[in-house]
């Protein structure tokens, strides 16, 4: 079954929610006018505000329903039925989170899922744990295009995240990222972090037989450049498209969801995982299960 997706490699107007929402709506309107009309548009991590806010997350975080209403109000009727995945700082009664919203726009739509980033980057240039709370888990959900999971940036650096998403039935994993560019060694023609994202996303796709869509932020924040380089991978781990560096872009990609089943048949790594997962957990360190001592001890 073909599915048309648009990756919105996006530069927010940092700290200006209204201007950024207008920018998002403009891209959504552009996307739904394009041919073929995408079923889903994927914005990057913290698309609504920019990434490095420090204590400014207190002023910029909004509840997920407010974001949904704001997008709906601005996107217009032409966007009815379009699915949107978008990263934002989320505020609710329990705290502030680095989150991703998945929603269907229009009167018949609504919020389908909110993922809160589990692995908060707190090293080097990153300070997330200082300003936001960690999400509790990684779950897939039933979206109109197919069972989907959301990951946010460092979530994707941990192989267990893709594993949990796939085990929960996801055939599409959307990774929303804001990855500051670093590393300019000769050879690849792109910053080192973009090379690394390619390796990570390809590995997740190939290991689990899923489509992986990576939507990257662009723009500079205090000298730190988000380079872009968004990409999509098929369930064999092959790259389907590569976004440009440094620029905003609306990147169309068509995926054939039936390809996931074919990939899993050709290389049944996922079924091996499903069969072994419970046993591995039971026998893993920290499971509380006492393992039998080897013979002779």
């Amino acid at each position: 079954m073909p599915l048309d997706i648009a990756i919105a490699q996006f530069r927010p107007s940092k700290g200006d929610l209204d201007a950024t929402l207008d920018g998002c709506a403009g891209i959504i309107r552009r996307a739904v006018r394009s041919e073929p009309r995408p079923r889903l548009i994927v914005f990057p991590e913290t698309a609504l505000t920019g990434y490095f806010l420090e204590g400014g997350v207190r002023e910029q975080a909004i509840p997920a329903p407010e974001l949904f209403e704001a997008l709906n109000a601005r996107a217009g009727d032409a966007a009815d039925g379009l699915d949107v995945a978008i990263g934002f700082y989320e505020r609710d009664a329990t705290g502030i989170y680095n989150s991703a919203l998945y929603a269907t726009l229009g009167p018949g739509g609504g919020i389908l899922h909110v993922h809160r980033k589990v692995f908060l980057a707190t090293y080097g240039v990153f300070q997330e744990e200082r300003f936001v709370e960690a999400g509790a888990g990684i779950r897939a959900f039933d979206a109109p295009p197919g069972r989907t999971a959301l990951l946010i940036c460092e979530d994707g650096f941990h192989s267990v995240s893709g594993t949990l998403a796939a085990l929960d039935g996801a055939s599409i994993i959307l990774i929303l990222s804001a990855s500051p560019a670093r590393g300019a060694a000769p050879g690849a023609g792109v910053p080192g972090n973009v090379v690394r994202w390619g390796a990570l996303a390809s590995a997740i796709a190939a290991e689990h037989g899923v489509f992986v869509i990576v939507s990257q932020l662009v723009g500079f924040e205090g000298g730190k450049g988000f380079a872009g380089g968004s990409a999509a991978y098929d369930p064999h781990g092959h790259r389907l498209l590569a976004g440009p560096l440094w620029e905003e872009a609306l990147l169309p990609v068509r995926v054939d969801l039936d390809e996931a089943a074919r990939a899993r048949t050709e290389e049944p790594l996922f079924s091996d995982l499903e069969r072994s997962w419970t046993r591995l957990l039971v026998n893993s360190p920290g499971s509380g299960v006492r393992r039998p001592a080897p013979d002779g001890e």
Partner: protein, 292 residues
């Protein structure tokens, strides 16, 4: 876009060796594009300026900075200020004009001698070359910022990573402009990028000098050549200790010299120390980024 991880030549993949300069190799096309985008965004988009002023000394750092600004904003949006002191080398002026001509950048010369000597001659006639150099450097910044204000332009800094890590600059002078494209490039990387961008060879290949004192060169002042210092600095700030580097074959005297400069100048890379009295102390508790 694809490639093996880690990419060939990255620091992470290498153990230190004095003959291995690979960790400092850069893709000059990538870095050039990166810095041009940086300048456009930080100057135009974030700060709303259309023009910049750059102090053009005749050295490679300011030449490269001016060239990148011209590429990012257009050469007419850049004003190169030549700010000689009476002891400055005439060759510095020649080289600055050569660079400006090469990149089509307008120039203005403002001699800072009377401003510098007005203070020193009347109040501190015995001040030596080092102090005179610092006063001249700070006077140049007074001119740079005032000209920027007059022209509704932004001053752009030119300091490189080697100077910053070695503390080899005048505090609150060279480091004061609000935007700096070269501050994360070692001197040897500046040389490589300058060649790629088309900075004239006379400027790139000459010995680096702050030109604050007649006849001085950076490498005489520092006691170690930049290519060696850069590699040692790279490994030190990547988590290797001085003993690791000596064991790997680096010369102990140079490692210790570089390490001592690095360790004794952390203060110079920070804003002034402010007494914290409250749970809303700026930059300690009240944290907002520069572009917020």
């Amino acid at each position: 876009m694809t490639g093996a991880w880690p990419p060939p030549g990255t620091a992470e993949a290498r153990a230190p060796h004095p003959a291995d300069r690979g960790p400092l190799d850069i893709d000059t096309d990538l870095v050039r594009d990166w810095l041009v985008q940086f300048l456009r965004e930080e100057i135009e988009r974030r700060r709303g300026f259309r023009r910049v002023v750059v102090g053009l000394s005749g050295g490679v750092d300011s030449a490269l900075t001016a060239a990148l600004c011209a590429e990012a904003l257009g050469s007419e949006a850049v004003l190169a200020l030549l700010l000689p002191y009476r002891t400055s080398s005439p060759r510095s002026r020649e080289h600055a004009l050569l660079v400006a001509g090469e990149f089509g950048i307008p120039t203005r010369t403002i001699d800072v001698t009377r401003a510098v000597d007005g203070y020193l001659d009347e109040f501190e006639p015995g001040a030596g070359g080092h102090r005179r150099g610092n006063v001249a450097a700070r006077q140049r910044m007074i001119v740079l910022f005032d000209q920027a204000f007059k022209l509704s332009a932004l001053p752009v800094g030119t300091g490189n990573k080697s100077e910053r890590l070695l503390g080899y600059y005048t505090w609150h002078a060279d480091d004061s402009p609000p935007v700096n494209p070269l501050g994360d490039l070692f001197k040897s990387q500046v040389w490589a990028l300058a060649r790629a961008v088309g900075v004239p060879a006379e400027v790139v290949d000459k010995p680096a000098t702050a030109d604050l004192i007649q006849g001085q060169t950076d490498e005489d002042d520092l006691g170690v050549a930049y290519p060696e210092a850069d590699l040692i600095l790279h490994h030190l700030i990547s988590g290797r200790g001085p003993d690791d580097l000596v064991e790997a074959g680096f010369e102990r005297k140079k490692v210790e010299l570089v390490a001592e400069r690095l360790e004794s100048t952390h203060w110079k890379r920070h804003l002034p120390t402010v007494a914290m009295l409250s749970p809303t102390a700026i930059g300690e508790w009240y944290l907002r980024p520069v572009d917020y």
